[in-house]
């Protein structure tokens, strides 16, 4: 059970917003009254709310921010949080010439 999904709120929601969301969910009847009541109860309790905050959300930004990106032809290393303003353009495929080594096969 994901109480945040049932109440359609994010983890920053205040107690007041949780209660309002529960009332709204009751009216919408997308979930049973029991499910809504349990969801509200879980989020109003700081312990169970903290547990759900852990379980229901992921944050990949700390992982991404540690990465060091090296732009091609530009050996500067930058972390992903400070990318190059204008990424260097890639060499276009025009530099490629058609090979004839396989022409006999066709």
């Amino acid at each position: 059970m994901n109480p945040y999904k049932i109440l359609d709120i994010d983890y920053c929601a205040t107690k007041r917003e949780i209660i309002q969301a529960a009332a709204r969910a009751m009216r919408e009847r997308k979930y049973s009254g029991r499910e809504v009541a349990v969801a509200q109860k879980e989020l109003l309790n700081p312990i169970t709310k903290a547990a759900h905050d852990f379980l229901q959300f992921i944050d990949v930004k700390p992982l991404q921010e540690q990465l060091v990106l090296t732009w091609p032809n530009d050996q500067d290393k930058r972390t992903a949080s400070e990318p190059s303003a204008t990424p260097p353009e890639a060499d276009e495929g025009a530099c490629l010439s058609r090979l004839t080594v396989f022409d006999e096969d066709s």
């Binding site: 700081p46 312990i47 169970t48 903290a50 547990a51 905050d53 852990f54 379980l55 992921i58 944050d59 990949v60 700390p62 992982l63 991404q64 921010e65 540690q66 990465l67 060091v68 990106l69 090296t70 732009w71 091609p72 032809n73 290393k77 992903a80 990318p83 190059s84 204008t86 990424p87 260097p88 353009e89 890639a90 060499d91 276009e92 495929g93 025009a94 530099c95 490629l96 058609r98 090979l99 080594v101 396989f102 022409d103 006999e104 096969d105 066709s106």
Partner: protein, 754 residues
């Protein structure tokens, strides 16, 4: 002189003609009919002849009709022959010859189908010309013209190879988009077409697709390999370009991953590892929103194992450390390349470079939880990751208040435990196994957490045994356990904890899971690879052998003792296993089971004569002896001997004591009866007088009483009765001088003497 041939008569000519006509030989029949017609024609020799039965004119008309029929039939036969020849030519791909025959046949018959055939042959001849023209144009470098001609030929011939040729010509004409649109619907197998398709894709910037197409060419031609390398570089650059634009990160990940898989990792211009990792995380974030946990699992579960140092970026700063101190070299948990201090910050209490950074660990834990909500497939993973994540690091983030953090941690553990238990209660075998794992790991991680306490430098070692084994942390955990032996309640607690982090961990899991065969087999193979048998390995072997021996005992298998011979050592470390064996022995009630337990306990008693072992052996011996005695397998004497032995082992064995009493009484009663039967009164008196059991003199006096009553009623001289009564009095008095029977005998004597 030659004899002049006699002219045939009209009748004979007509008869011959008719014969030929009926046989279907129309050309000859026609000739004969014409011959006959000439005879009866207006200028013929028989023009004036009267034909029998009909007029000459009618005869002429009839013959003329026949001639006409013969002409038509002969033409038809000729046409048929031409059609046959045409088909033969067509079969030999001689389209011109076939067309000529059909034309002649058509002239004869004028039939529509022949005309249609002629049309088709004419079309084929034209097409043949088109393909030839296309080839000529291609050879002459007129690729666009050749492409058009191949297309034209395809319209009429519907052959895919013509489309492939067209597409190749389009590539040569540098009309790449058109070529791709043709190639994409074709299944091309020749290297030329595959190369051209890939080349067209590369020229329009579709480098990933180009490389995938070129993967179907196994050629090692230098030029081709160089070009592939160039396209890989273009793809790498293109990935960065698209990343800069914020385009589809999932695709960038997929293409980047492909590039990493096929690229020489030493190549400096292919440094896209970080980019791929970045996009992986971005994709994972999207997948989490879409609740596609299975895909997240595939993307993330192998990550910790891949975290190994590769390239390092020197730390930018040593801020936060004491003056003069330098931060020890650590590798980023995330990118695998750097030693950025930030990564250490992210890692929290985790030692950088260790398998499984907290963020990834949390991701695996959460994903396995979500998957476990759906099915039982990931329950074992949930146990491994969840406990490690929750105990190792996570709870510290929730709150600065320790008590509240503990509450959150307990709540998280309860949530996972409820989930596993719910699955296990539904009777699912995998879930039951996962619950066993959970219970083992929960206790172990609790212990490690308590051992580490607030020492954050060791927090990364708080993990489940499976996690430790999988991500190479077992040795460090074992060192931590060894160095903190005093933390453990007793030797068994220390060894049991350590053995789960030793190489024998899998066997211990198997034991807990009731898979004793597997446990013993696994242990044997591990030990064969281990040079030094340390204390944990030794403990594991003892545990495994004991568990297997107990299992054999319960299963009624023979010679379980060979597995339990080392159990004495285990009992010294862990008396609870001795208790467990004793409990099992106490539960046995069948003679065979009792025999096996007695044998095992007897062997163990020789090595470890502990009080509980003595008591257990004593009791099992006594119980088995009774069972055998009741089944008349042993005699009272043997029962007495066994009972005496049992009492020596455990003087407090009330069962043995009772056995001994009962059997001794029985034996004395038997001896008394035997002595009385043989009239060995001195012996009988001695047995009755010396017996510690009241039942023996009682039996003696009962016998004497019966004799006195019998004597009273016997028809015998008084003197004789008096003599016998005096003898009885004497025997009874030897046993008990105050017994009431003596008064009865005395009264009888007085009566007789008076």
């Amino acid at each position: 002189m030659a004899k002049k041939k006699k002219a045939k008569s009209l009748e004979s000519i007509l008869a011959g003609a008719e014969k030929l006509f009926h046989r279907g030989n129309y050309p000859l029949a026609k000739r004969e009919f014409e011959k006959a017609l000439r005879l009866i024609g207006p200028s013929g020799p028989e023009a004036g002849r009267k034909v029998e039965g009909e007029g000459l004119a009618e005869k002429r008309e009839e013959i003329a009709t026949k001639i006409e029929i013969c002409s038509k039939e002969a033409e038809r036969l000729k046409a048929e022959d031409l059609v046959r020849r045409a088909k033969k030519y067509a079969g030999k791909r001689n389209l011109q010859g076939a067309l000529r025959c059909y034309e002649q046949a058509y002239k004869i018959t004028g039939e529509d189908w022949i005309q249609e055939k002629m049309g088709r042959l004419q079309g084929a001849l034209r097409r043949r010309d088109t393909v030839k023209s296309a080839r000529d144009a291609e050879a002459g470098g007129e690729f666009e013209k050749a492409a058009a001609l191949y297309e034209q030929a395809f319209i009429t011939q519907k052959r895919e190879d013509l489309l492939a040729k067209r597409a190749c010509c389009l590539v040569k004409a540098k009309r790449y988009e058109e070529a791709i649109s043709v190639f994409k619907d074709l299944v091309v197998s020749d290297h030329g077409a595959i190369y051209n398709y890939g080349f067209a894709l590369a020229r329009v910037g579709r480098y990933y697709e180009c490389l995938k197409v070129w993967d179907n060419i196994a050629s090692q031609a230098n030029g081709f390999l160089e070009q592939k390398k160039a396209v890989r570089s273009l793809l790498a650059a293109d990935l960065y370009k698209r990343f800069g634009r914020g385009q589809d990160l999932a695709r960038i990940y997929e293409e980047g991953q492909y590039l990493l898989n096929v690229t020489d990792r030493q190549s400096p211009d292919q440094d896209i590892d970080s980019l791929v990792e970045y996009c992986r995380y971005a994709w994972i974030e999207e997948l989490w929103e879409e609740e596609r946990y299975e895909t997240i699992w595939e993307l993330s579960v192998h990550l910790p194992a891949r975290m190994e140092p590769a390239r390092h970026r020197p730390p930018d700063t040593d801020s936060g450390l004491p003056a003069g101190a330098r931060r020890p070299a650590r590798h980023c948990l995330v990118c695998r390349h750097c030693t950025c201090p930030a990564s250490v910050a992210v890692a929290g209490g985790w030692q950088a470079g260790e398998a499984g950074g907290p963020a990834l660990l949390a991701l695996c834990a959460k994903t396995s939880f979500k998957l476990a909500e759906i099915s039982t497939e990931h329950l074992a993973d949930l146990s491994m990751f969840w406990l490690t994540a929750v105990y190792g690091e996570i709870f510290g983030r929730f709150s600065s208040a320790m008590e509240e953090s503990d509450n959150v941690r307990r709540q998280l553990i309860r949530m996972a435990e409820d989930l596993i238990t719910r699955h296990a209660n539904s009777g699912d075998g995998a879930a039951e196994k996962a619950l066993t794992y959970w219970n083992i790991e929960k206790k172990l991680v609790e212990d490690l957490s308590a051992l580490v306490g607030a020492r954050q430098d060791f927090a990364h070692l708080v993990c489940t045994p499976r996690f430790a084994a999988r991500f190479g942390k077992s040795a460090k955990v074992l060192r931590l356990i060894r160095e903190n032996r005093e933390f453990f309640e007793n030797t068994e607690h220390y060894l049991a904890t350590g053995s789960f982090y030793s190489p024998a961990w899998q066997s211990l899991y198997d034991i807990e899971n009731g898979e004793y065969d597997k446990a013993l087999g696994g242990l044997a193979s591990i030990l064969s690879e281990t040079k030094d048998m340390d204390e944990f390995a030794d403990y594991s072997v003892k545990r495994a052998k004991f568990a297997y021996g107990l299992y054999c005992l319960e299963q009624g298998e023979n010679r379980p003792g060979r597995y339990l011979e080392a159990a004495a050592g285990l009992f010294d470390i862990a008396p609870r296993y001795e208790k467990k064996l004793i409990e099992k022995a106490m539960d046995a009630d069948e003679p065979d089971d009792l025999r096996r337990y007695e044998e095992v306990l007897s062997d163990l008693h020789k090595k470890r004569p502990s009080k509980p072992m003595k008591a257990a052996l004593s009791l099992v011996m006594s119980r088995r002896a009774i069972e055998m005695y009741n089944q008349r397998l042993i005699n009272p004497k043997t029962l007495e001997t066994i009972s005496r032995k049992a009492l020596i082992l455990d003087p407090e064995n009330e069962l043995a004591r009772g056995n001994l009493n009962d059997v001794q009484l029985d034996l004395q009663i038997q001896a008394l009866g035997k002595a009385l039967d043989k009239h060995k009164m001195n012996k009988a008196c001695k047995i009755a007088a010396e017996s510690e059991y009241q039942e023996v003199p009682d039996a003696f006096f009962e016998f004497m009483g019966r004799n006195v009553e019998t004597l009273e009623e016997m028809d015998m001289e008084d003197e004789e009765k008096i003599l016998l009564l005096k003898e009885l009095f004497g025997w009874c008095a030897r046993v008990d001088e105050s017994h009431s029977i003596l008064y009865d005998i005395d009264r009888m004597l007085r009566q007789l003497q008076s």
